[in-house]
């Protein structure tokens, strides 16, 4: 239960952070750790959006610390590195957050900040799935589990690239959709257009990979137990394509960008779940 709560809080934290950035409310609280010098800041919608971001971050941090403590006690051997890494990354994330503000929100560091948060989300998901008692921690990258792990890594990279697109202000470098400058390939591939177009190319690759997985799960009996998850993943990637289009066509409307991230996290969660299920199946019948 604590694992689910932690993952849910980190999901909410990442999406809420995206909302705050989209609403340009990131400086709603100009000071830290207080907000406008108070524990409870004055009521103004943008101040409270940022204030709630901090509240969710605090709750997520406490939940992660409790979960990691629990897993350090439950895990054996090298697996203890997972909760330790989660807490270390959380501390790094907090330090990076401060550096991002102090250095004036540089694109690469801000992207790194997001990637660190995403890694914490992945580790929390791992600790939720493998509680160390009923489900001992395990790792596998062979057979279908390698496929799911690789696809998860691909979605992770796509999300990181999406963050880079956003923080370099390249979200509207191709201002039309599904075409880019009216064609399949933009005339000039450099600068922001290259960054934006790379995201679209990688997204197309993810789409094709997920479609292939769905087809394989339907046709190959060895993947039969993953059919429902593969179908859910395929529906999500279809939705993600549509939401990606909406992000461009609505000119980066904050709800569209937040939904884009939420669906990406959902896809990552499904792939991690498939990976964990496959590992358990391998353990039952190696």
């Amino acid at each position: 239960m604590l694992g689910r709560i932690t993952v849910g809080l980190f999901f909410l934290l990442l999406v809420w952070g995206n909302l705050v950035a989209g609403l340009k409310a990131g400086l709603g609280c100009p000071d830290w750790p207080l907000c406008h010098g108070k524990v409870l800041p004055p009521f103004r919608w943008d101040i409270w959006m940022e204030f709630m971001h901090r509240v969710i971050a605090a709750a997520a941090g406490i939940a992660l610390a409790a979960l990691s403590y629990d897993r350090v006690r439950a895990y054996r051997g090298a697996a203890k590195a997972v909760p330790v890494a989660a807490v270390a990354l959380l501390l790094a994330e907090i330090a990076l957050g401060g550096a991002v503000v102090l250095l004036g929100i540089p694109a690469r560091l801000t992207t790194f900040h997001f990637v660190t948060g995403l890694l914490v989300f992945v580790l929390a998901y791992y600790m939720m799935t493998f509680d160390g008692l009923a489900a001992p921690p395990a790792f596998s990258a062979r057979g279908p589990s390698a496929l799911f792990f690789g696809m998860g890594a691909l979605v992770f990279l796509l999300a990181a690239l999406g963050a880079y697109v956003r923080h370099t202000d390249a979200g509207l470098a191709c201002a039309d959709w599904p075409a880019c400058f009216g064609g399949v390939l933009p005339g000039v591939l450099s600068g922001k257009v290259l960054i934006h177009f790379s995201h679209r190319v990688l997204a197309a690759l993810v789409f094709l990979t997920v479609a292939a997985l769905y087809a394989a799960a339907a046709l190959d009996r060895r993947l039969g137990r993953h059919f429902r998850a593969a179908r859910g993943l395929f529906l999500m990637v279809l939705m993600q394509v549509a939401v990606g289009g909406a992000v461009v066509l609505t000119r980066l409307y904050f709800l569209a960008t937040a939904l884009h991230l939420a669906v990406a996290l959902g896809m990552l969660g499904i792939l991690l779940g498939m990976w964990a299920r496959e590992i358990r199946a391998e353990e039952v019948s190696p």
């Binding site: 604590l2 849910g8 340009k24 919608w45 959006m49 939940a63 066509l249 609505t250």
Partner: protein
């Protein structure tokens, strides 16, 4: 804020198991209460009414609303929906405890405690009313109040328990978020918002009846005169199909009156064909009511998304 009920299985919490897991560890018990509070607030419905509210906002502003209005309006709608859902759960607890489908929600309510749940619901509803009145406008606040009262009192305590047709007026609170969103942007109630309001009103009976058909034994056990229990399965199946068919002219009225483009009309027609086909195949010709229920959700979410996209792209 309507009579819709999400399927319990997906979010069901086994309270005894929860208690076992929680044990003496205070943090885990706290986590269980947080999770249970989420379950009794019916987050699926809250998300659905938020999308409806956004569609109302888009229609009123002839485009996507600004960040302030969207954040405040949707926040108020979600908070009010969650608060009203908890009040509904409190009033319905004796009935819900006789329904297997809702065992998880009953266990969650037990975990949170009646006083805790009541306190949470009052805080959510009061916050929604205060913020909407102070930061949006009085019309939006009044509509939120109407939605909360009509769902948690009128529908829960009266319509639901007395008549198989209670679902029809009971759809009003579920459709009001469209008008809340519309009023949040424009400060009044306009025709495009009213059309979408009536579309949602017309959609909710078949949506709920497919669920009532699937879990009719639960409703019978609880003594709730849902349509299949009171008037039988054949009558309910016919009504579902009739209501589903009637959705086409009403939904395309947004295009006929010029509030949405041909793109919306095409999308509405396509979604309607899929929904009616699913109703016929799964609720009339066979008894796969769960699939028809799922199709009804896809239909309404698709229709609301089509409104938002169409208006935003114009």
């Amino acid at each position: 804020m309507g009579p819709r009920d999400p399927r319990g299985g997906g979010v069901a919490i086994d309270a005894p198991a929860l208690a076992r897991e929680a044990g003496p560890d205070g943090e885990r018990a706290g986590a269980g209460r947080v999770s249970s509070a989420l379950v009794i607030s019916k987050p699926g419905i809250a998300v659905g009414v938020a999308v409806a509210g956004l569609a109302g906002m888009a229609l009123a502003g002839k485009g996507l609303p600004d960040g302030r209005t969207a954040a405040l309006g949707l926040g108020c709608i979600v908070a009010a929906a969650a608060g009203a859902a908890i009040v509904n759960g409190l009033f319905d607890a004796p009935l819900d405890s006789r329904m297997r489908r809702l065992s998880g929600r009953v266990a969650a309510l037990r975990t949170v405690g009646e006083r805790g749940a009541l306190g949470l619901s009052l805080v959510l509803i009061a916050a929604a009313l205060a913020v909407s009145f102070l930061c949006l406008n009085a019309i939006a606040a009044l509509l939120i109040l109407a939605a909360v009262l009509s769902y948690s009192l009128l529908y829960t305590l009266f319509f639901k328990r007395r008549s198989p047709y209670g679902t029809i007026p009971g759809g009003v609170p579920g459709a009001l978020p469209v008008l809340v969103g519309y009023a949040a942007v424009s400060g009044r109630i306009g025709l495009p918002g009213l059309i979408l309001f009536f579309v949602m009103l017309l959609w909710q009976p078949p949506h709920f009846w497919t669920l009532a058909l699937k879990y009719q034994e639960d409703y019978r056990a609880a003594g709730i005169p849902a349509m299949p229990v009171a008037l039988g399965e054949p009558y309910t199946r016919i009504l579902i199909f009739v209501y589903a068919v009637a959705l086409l002219p009403l939904s395309t009225a947004l295009w006929v009156f010029g509030y949405c483009s041909g793109f919306f009309a095409g999308a509405a027609a396509l979604l309607w064909v899929c929904f009616v086909r699913s109703c016929y195949r799964n609720a009339v010709a066979t008894r796969r009511f769960g699939k028809a229920f799922g199709a009804s959700i896809v239909y309404m979410m698709g229709l609301l998304a089509a409104v938002i996209v169409d208006v935003a792209a114009r």
